[in-house]
Symmetry: C2
Subunit: 298 residues, 2 copies
């Protein structure tokens, strides 16, 4: 992962600022408060303007930048620009009951993007590597998950042609149990649980191991599920701070499945890839109302 990363940048810039708020000098805190309160507005200011808006002097702004780990105002400003570009997580701008749908859209999109951004930064390349090794060598795959994680499993199953081996995602707990209990050493079960605690998912992973299969887990937090994993892919998204905050973890999960499927596909034979391509073309023709040559029926 080669994103520009700055010293002291815990995760997002604003989180870093908030975290160091306490150890800042009073005047620097004024600057920090201003930045946290209106990061986008802060972008419009140069050093003098920001100093003025915060009611402090320019060197104080400078010291603020150093304090949170940048080597100058310039680099701080581009980091700030990047932070607001990916979007402010809802933690920084809560949902409000009288937000318009458009405002909600803005906030939720921002939150989703920020969440994916976080997952991207925290993703462990080595785990990804090992997972792909396992999957590419598998003779069959089983994806399991409940709730939002079940959606990810469903999605993975749709990518079956890319994986190139039989690929199942039973929704029913019993059928999941049956499927993983028939595991061979080359059966890989991908168990997905955002919490890492979901009881049923844990039991499925345990059963898969017991039957001699391999297990890849996709989790958001430490939990019992990880202990059954040959490879644990950890997705660090945001906490569900309030009940309205949508479950953004599934987005990162879906992207990880994309990555796994694509990586495995790129390892398969040219012949296989040709068949996939032919299938995709045929599917597009079959699906659409408007056929390229004739008239559509709509």
């Amino acid at each position: 992962m080669t994103l520009p990363s700055h010293p002291g940048q815990v995760d997002t810039l604003l989180a870093a600022v908030a975290a160091r708020m306490a150890e800042l000098r009073p005047s620097e805190q004024k600057v920090a408060a201003l930045v946290l309160d209106d990061p986008i507005g802060a972008l419009d200011h140069n050093m003098a303007g920001l100093a003025d808006a915060a009611g402090v002097s320019e060197p104080t702004v400078m010291r603020f930048c150093s304090a949170i780990g940048f080597d100058g105002f310039r680099s701080f400003k581009i980091a700030l620009a990047q932070a607001v570009a990916v979007g402010l997580p809802i933690a920084h701008s809560g949902l409000d009951r009288d937000d318009s749908p458009a405002q909600l859209g803005e906030k939720i999109f921002n939150h989703s993007i920020a969440s994916l951004d976080r997952a991207r930064r925290r993703l462990d390349p080595a785990a990804l590597d090992r997972a792909v090794d396992l999957l590419a060598d598998a003779s069959s795959l089983v994806f399991v998950g409940f709730g939002a994680s079940g959606i990810i499993a469903q999605d993975a199953q749709q990518k079956f042609p890319l994986f190139g081996v039989p690929c199942d995602a039973p929704a029913d707990f019993h059928q999941q149990f049956i499927a993983v209990s028939m595991s061979t050493p080359r059966t890989v079960t991908v168990a997905i649980s955002h919490t890492g605690h979901t009881a049923e998912t844990v039991r499925i992973a345990a059963a898969a191991r017991e039957a001699g299969g391999r297990v890849v887990t996709i989790t958001g937090d430490d939990g019992p599920l990880s202990s059954y994993a040959d490879v644990d892919i950890r997705l660090s998204t945001f906490e569900d701070t309030d009940m309205f905050t949508p479950t953004v973890s599934r987005l990162a999960g879906l992207v990880v499945v994309d990555v796994l499927a694509t990586a495995v596909a790129l390892r398969s034979s040219e012949a296989h890839l040709r068949r996939v391509r032919a299938m995709k073309d045929a599917l597009a023709r079959m699906r659409d109302v408007e056929q390229p040559p004739g008239e559509g029926l709509a």
Copy 2:
């Protein structure tokens, strides 16, 4: 939508640069090429450095910035910083057969984020408004879609408690037809198709209208589906340039469903929201292996 937007910024900055490439002067093109080739590296340079790297003089860099619509090097640089922060769409950095899984992860995450970013910018607030009005007034909901769009429908159904009314998402075409054919004027069918051409989805939308129900469509492109819509939510993501490029449209679709569900939920009664909250708490306790008080069973 209040994102910082700059003149001439077609969509992403790099797209704008590429688009204007032709009308640039030769020396300016050298700068453009450098920026397109290694945007992240370009960020490390100041004006002099970039001029040097491109083998031109500083004013040329300056003129380049003006030519693509910025009022100076500074504002160009923060725009560039933002462009690379959301991630470079795969169009700018194709998938390669010998990319490592980690590299693929980086690229696919970038592509997904860039895609959501694009959807965010292009989203029509008015359409969102009208869709929420319809949904909030509905007595029952039906979500339909096939393939990746089917995943979105499944996901929407999971948000049933937020919508507060019966909420169905049949996977089977016939059952979809049955469901929408029973539409009343307060039944809202949400028909999802990335292409906007999917024959079955179009027929379902038509049947819903015919039965007197309302129809919200979520589409990526112009197509017959939109013509059956009371409200059409248009999601502008990226084309599927090559067969490996994962279908990123579903991500934007999922987020839109989040927005709709959240917006509708925020309009419902306090009593209803209390019940949802209680349900969520109970679900969390039920689901997890490790109960807060006692010992877990894992």
